[in-house]
């Protein structure tokens, strides 16, 4: 167990993309720290398994692009457990979109899930009736928003857009002391990167970071910190958690 412990007793959070990778790790750690967590994702089996292990995690099988359902689920959670102390937008997909042969539909889907639905998520969760003043929100960006990787213009561009959007929302919500930040992981072993070896040389990729590949729990600590009151003066910024990526 880490020497740094967080206490989120009596606090409520919503996590999207909660059935795998970073989203799941964060949902678990929040639940372990005493929070009630509304876990939104598309994969039902994974969500039910989470709930069985952590009764504090309230699972909800929702596609974030189905705005009406997402709003209903969040409203109901707030009615039952109280206003949100924060939210984590970890829903997202990636896909290879090389300039010569990208699929327009796939590009649109990447933008829809990671960016447009993320803005909707912020609109719903940041309403006064749904969140407390001083709530903290974290969006997932990626180090590839700066480091350029061939074939990833849609993913990288979307993540860069998320960072700017998060800063904009930070400004719009500052009067209520609501904080909005992004975290940019480097290369982390998750579902999203597990097929990377099919198209890329994994050893070469590992060399892009001083510490090679990371795990989801190498990133989640920063997210929990940003959600906590220790980060109350940190807003509108991006924090790289990337094992020395690009150095």
């Amino acid at each position: 167990m880490s020497k740094v412990q967080f206490d989120f007793t009596n606090e409520n959070f919503v996590v999207t993309g909660a059935s795998s990778g970073m989203g799941k790790q964060i949902a678990v750690e929040l639940a372990e720290a005493g929070a009630k967590v509304l876990a939104i994702a598309r994969r039902e089996n994974e969500l039910s398994a989470l709930h069985n292990q952590y009764p504090n995690i309230i699972p909800s099988m929702v596609d974030v692009c189905d705005y009406a359902t997402m709003e209903n689920v969040i409203n109901n959670f707030v009615k039952q457990y109280g206003k949100l102390n924060g939210g984590i937008y970890a829903a997202g997909i990636t896909g290879l979109t090389p300039l010569r042969s990208y699929d327009e539909k796939e590009v649109q889907q990447i933008i829809d899930i990671s960016f447009i639905a993320g803005a909707k998520f912020m609109q719903i969760t940041s309403k006064k009736k749904n969140s407390v003043d001083g709530a903290s929100f974290v969006w997932f960006s990626s180090e590839c928003a700066r480091g350029v990787a061939s074939g990833l213009f849609a993913y990288a561009g979307t993540k860069a857009a998320c960072e700017v959007a998060a800063r904009t929302f930070a400004k719009e919500l500052a009067s209520r002391k609501i904080r909005v930040n992004t975290v940019s992981p480097g290369w982390v072993k998750t579902n999203m990167t597990k097929n990377l070896g099919d198209t890329h040389n994994m050893e070469e990729i590992a060399k892009e970071s001083l510490f090679g590949f990371g795990e989801a729990q190498d990133v989640s600590g920063m997210v929990l910190f940003l959600l906590s009151d220790r980060a109350k003066w940190i807003t509108g910024t991006n924090i790289s958690v990337a094992g020395g990526f690009g150095i």
Partner: protein
């Protein structure tokens, strides 16, 4: 009209109930951000391009309604 009031509630994001005769000056949330949010809502929700000067001159919620109806 009900639809308008509902949208105004979102634009202002305030917990007090917004009524037609509510004075804008009495709503703490009627700030510069609510101002641009109203202009965007008029366009998205009612297809109206309202003039910022007209919005500035509005004294009540009803004055705003008259700009979009």
């Amino acid at each position: 009209m009900e639809q308008f009031l509902e949208k105004m509630q979102d634009v202002l994001d305030c917990e007090q109930e917004v009524k037609m005769n509510t004075a804008l000056g009495s709503i703490e949330e009627w700030d510069s951000l609510a101002f641009v949010s109203f202009i965007a809502m008029a366009k998205a929700g009612f297809g109206k391009t309202v003039k910022p000067a007209d919005v500035r001159n509005a004294k009540t919620v009803e004055d705003l309604y008259n700009l979009v109806k």
